[in-house]
């Protein structure tokens, strides 16, 4: 395992986010912008809840939505690299599968941290004041990183079915939109629509973040239970994604 190879891939992944305008907008800028708009317009609107503003209820969902956009990022980049023959070329270099997977683990741990930093930073600017503790914030990072890995898995699965980056980007929304509508920042429009939100991984992250930001005790069993469920789902989806990727990487 060579650190130089791993860091080379990580650097390339981060440069892609910065230099590809579509990826930059979707994965980095969109959510802070949404937070800014909703923060300014709904930051003092209590709507249907007596204790929390609409914005306070929506914020955890905004942060998890940013992670969901990783599905688009991964699907488009993997399908694009495959179409360009980059994956085949990389596979003729001494880079090992273990080095590649580790580099992906590092990249997709850094990316949600950037998303959290930007999104949460904007939320603080527009006046959001959560009740979380330092340990709570660490747990927030764990929730977001797990959801990001789950999204990487969905992205790899999506790339399997797409022949080009454009097609993969479009297909990615099959996994993004239902999770966005039923288990991120959008309040349920139809009565009973939120009764099946538990089937979406983003629900567990959104729920966890909501609990932490509301100042719930970190010893609350429910919090650890949803973290455990998200962990299990993420592992399964990520492993399926990696297996699908390994099967198709030379095509």
């Amino acid at each position: 395992m060579k650190t130089k190879r791993i860091l080379t891939i990580v650097k390339m992944e981060l440069l892609r986010v910065l230099r590809d305008p579509v990826v930059l907008v979707f994965t980095v800028l969109l959510v802070p912008l949404l937070i800014l708009i909703f923060g300014l317009t709904m930051g003092s609107n209590y709507g249907w809840h007596s204790e929390y503003t609409i914005f306070e209820i929506m914020l955890p969902g905004f942060l998890t939505y940013a992670c969901l956009m990783t599905i688009y990022d991964v699907a488009a980049s993997v399908a694009g690299e495959r179409a360009l023959g980059i994956q085949r070329r990389i596979n003729t270099t001494p880079l090992t599968s273990a080095e590649y997977i580790l580099s992906q683990l590092i990249s997709y741990t850094i990316k949600p941290l950037i998303q959290l930093f930007l999104g949460f930073g904007v939320a603080l600017i527009v006046g959001y004041r959560p009740l979380a503790t330092a340990a709570g914030y660490l747990l927030v990072i764990v929730f977001l990183v797990l959801l990001t890995f789950c999204s990487v898995g969905f992205g790899l699965i999506t790339a399997h079915f797409a022949k080009s980056a454009g097609a993969a980007g479009g297909l990615a929304f099959i996994f993004i939109v239902p999770q966005q509508i039923f288990a991120t920042f959008i309040p349920p429009v139809f009565i009973g629509a939120d009764s099946f939100k538990w089937i979406f991984p983003s629900f567990y992250a959104t729920e966890g973040l909501g609990y932490i930001f509301a100042g719930s005790s970190l010893t609350d069993l429910y919090l650890w239970m949803i973290l455990g469920i998200l962990f299990a789902i993420s592992i399964v989806i990520y492993v399926i994604g990696i297996l699908v990727y390994e099967k198709n990487k030379n095509k």
């Binding site: 190879r5 080379t8 360009l84 023959g85 980059i86 070329r89 003729t92």
Partner: protein
């Protein structure tokens, strides 16, 4: 330290292929496809060996097997003294491949792409700088090295792809249709460039469907059709043996078809 070919084979052939087969299972009731069907040949150290044939003949499949991208159904393939089935890790240290597609990142500059692949070969920054400068100047891409490849023409992308394949100074270089899609001028430039690489005693295996390319560059060629080897030898010798004017006519005489018919 730079990896080298297996010492056991240092004075022998760079590539040895024996009865190589690659069959793809037919889907939805279709027959199995015999992409490579019992091909055998050797490539000597420092030789430029061409695999010539029409599209779909099995040329790229052979390169894919020799570079570890796909595994053979049957047969033996030795590259740099290492077996492709069991010693792929060692093979990857002594080879480099230039695929048919441009295979570069569009959001990186020309130099960043070279650096990326140089780093995967664990080259130092100094080595990458020195080697890339030399190669970029040789192919006339030096001025464009700081531009993102998104703005490169098709010919420039192919040339950059070739530079990337050479950055690690491989002992054995695989070129899959290296000049496909290039205009005649750019193609000639690449031929001149490959001629200079040949002088460095590198072993080059290239696939092509351009007769002129095979005749200009290769010490020997293997003509492939429907996955089978139908002729092998130095271009001039094959032409003389078949009493024709060029390799296209050699192919025509053996198969009754033209190489470019299927393109």
């Amino acid at each position: 330290m730079k990896a080298s070919i297996n010492k056991k084979y240092a004075n022998s052939n760079s590539i040895e292929v024996k009865d190589l087969k690659k069959h793809f299972t037919g889907k939805r009731g279709l027959e199995d496809v015999k992409a490579v069907d019992g091909v055998s040949f050797q490539v000597e150290n420092g030789e430029v060996f061409g695999i010539l044939g029409p599209n779909g003949a099995g040329k790229s499949t052979i390169v894919n097997i020799l570079t570890g991208i796909s595994s053979p159904t049957e047969g033996t393939a030795i590259v740099g003294g290492f077996n492709v089935k069991t010693e792929l890790k060692q093979i990857k240290k002594v080879i480099s491949m230039c695929p048919q597609e441009p295979s570069v990142y569009k959001f990186l500059t020309g130099f960043e792409n070279i650096q990326f692949f140089g780093n995967l070969h664990l080259m130092s920054k100094k080595e990458i700088m020195g080697r890339s400068e030399e190669l970029l100047k040789m192919l006339g891409l030096y001025e464009a090295r700081k531009r993102k490849t998104k703005g490169y023409s098709g010919g420039m992308l192919r040339q950059l792809s070739l530079i990337i394949a050479l950055i690690n100074e491989p002992d054995i270089l695989f070129l899959d249709e290296p000049t496909v899609g290039m205009d005649p001028r750019a193609r000639r430039k690449v031929w001149e460039f490959l001629g200079s690489i040949k002088k460095q005693n590198k072993t080059i295996l290239l696939t092509t469907h351009y007769i002129e390319e095979a005749e200009a560059l290769c010490d020997r060629v293997a003509i492939i059709d429907y996955g089978k080897l139908i002729a092998i030898g130095p271009p001039q010798k094959l032409i003389e043996e078949h009493e024709v004017n060029n390799l296209e006519e050699v192919f025509l005489k053996i198969t009754g078809r033209r190489i470019l018919e299927g393109i």
